[in-house]
């Protein structure tokens, strides 16, 4: 019996290796303009 189901997610430790290209959108430069969330932003790194 499986008690724990793990959802596929981006491994954040792994993302340190090729991360930080800076091509992604500025944090609040879209719909909200009054709060900061980055969960809804896409990674634009072509070498990840």
């Amino acid at each position: 019996m499986k008690h724990i189901k793990t959802i596929k997610t981006r491994d954040l430790c792994e993302s340190a290796k090729n991360g930080g290209c800076g091509e992604c959108q500025t944090s609040c430069q879209s719909a909200c303009k009054t709060s900061c969330g980055i969960a809804n932003q896409s990674c634009e790194n072509k070498n990840k």
Partner: protein, 464 residues
Amino acid sequence: MIHQYKLNGYNIVLDVCSGSVHVVDDVGYDAIAAYESTDRDLLLSQLLDKYEDEGVTAEEIAECLGQIEGLKQSGKLFSPDTFEPMAPELKNRSSGVIKALCLHVSHACNLTCSYCFAGQGRYHGKSALMSFEVGRRALDFLIENSGSRRNLEVDFFGGEPLLNFEVVKQLVSYARSVEKQHNKNFRFTLTTNGVDIDDDVIEFANREMSNVVLSLDGRKEVHDRFRVDAAGRGSYDVIVPKFQKLVQARGGKQYYMRGTFTHHNPDFLEDIKAMLDLGFTELSMEPVVCAPDSPSTLTEEDKPIVYKQYEDLAKLMISRRKEGRPFTFYHYMIDLQGGPCIYKRISGCGSGTEYMAVTPQGDLYPCHQFVGEERFRLGNVRDGVTNTAARDEFAACNVYAREECRNCWARLYCAGGCAANAYHSTGSVSGVYAYGCDLFRKRLECAIMAEIDRIYSEDEDSDN
């Protein structure tokens, strides 16, 4: 650090530092909660006491504990935070690189919304429109300071930017004429109250704007409470048909209907539904940002109502998706597999460093919410950033700069929060706007739950 919660029938465990998301049964939920603080044999007997009557055996509990240990060993549970030394890295690496500007092409507005953080568009100064020369210099400043960054974002903002539409068109035309030679790609956004939208605006916006943000608060009576013209007349009846025409002509390109909710309508789900009834499907609804003594400010009493709206909104999203009538809520868009890398998650929002606002006179501020705060004026588009002390204050903002963030399970989803909200609520850009954080965490719980439900639905579809 882990965070556990139950919502809409799901038991959810987040492993904060690895970014792992687990869906667990009740035994697993309780086992994880006590795992790090309880001896294994004691935990096993405690769980057996609790779940034996439900037919759970000691072998099954032992198996569950084994799964937890396996996840811990593989770095997906109880993973440590080893990222702090990397927090300044992204900003150091891209030091001085600016990739986005908020162009305040108009410090004037044809509405007089009393809840406006920009003081009816004038940002506590005089009405003004940006000249083409200032705007062109701002675009050149962005190109000159963007290093190897290819995608450059420019938001036409205000006040109401359509009061200076001719300059907006000229600036877009100028940017298009120079972007290729500099190997840049401009992505424009227009944020408008809709009053001046006409066929010319629609054609232009749908051709040139990557994103259009349209201000609508939802129900007519809610919208018209604040969003009125100088004579006090509500703008709903004027703008809704224009928004509908623009969105219909947009042909699927990105847009957001963006509403604000206040103390007067904490039941904002009704406003989301009103937007849906009008045919809009890309939605954003933001808590008001205003002075603490304003009658519009959200209160502690509003908070449970707002939480309930967020939960019900997630459930509505799920049910409409299953009915084949999906819609998007900006804060519930979450990409668990393709989201931002760790550098982005810990390095703060970028205001004052990679993102700045430009006033009609060409003055630079850390972001649109700081415009008019003289202490934060960074410089201007002709001379660049000269107030390096203020810039450095923003450069130091990251997830680890605030004690409250260090201990917050949501820190890698908000990157340390909004410096403007922090400043306006605490007097310091490195403070914490606690109320906003509470709402953020609630939204995040709902967003992850809704995404799990979507993934499960897809799995079911592929199994059938």
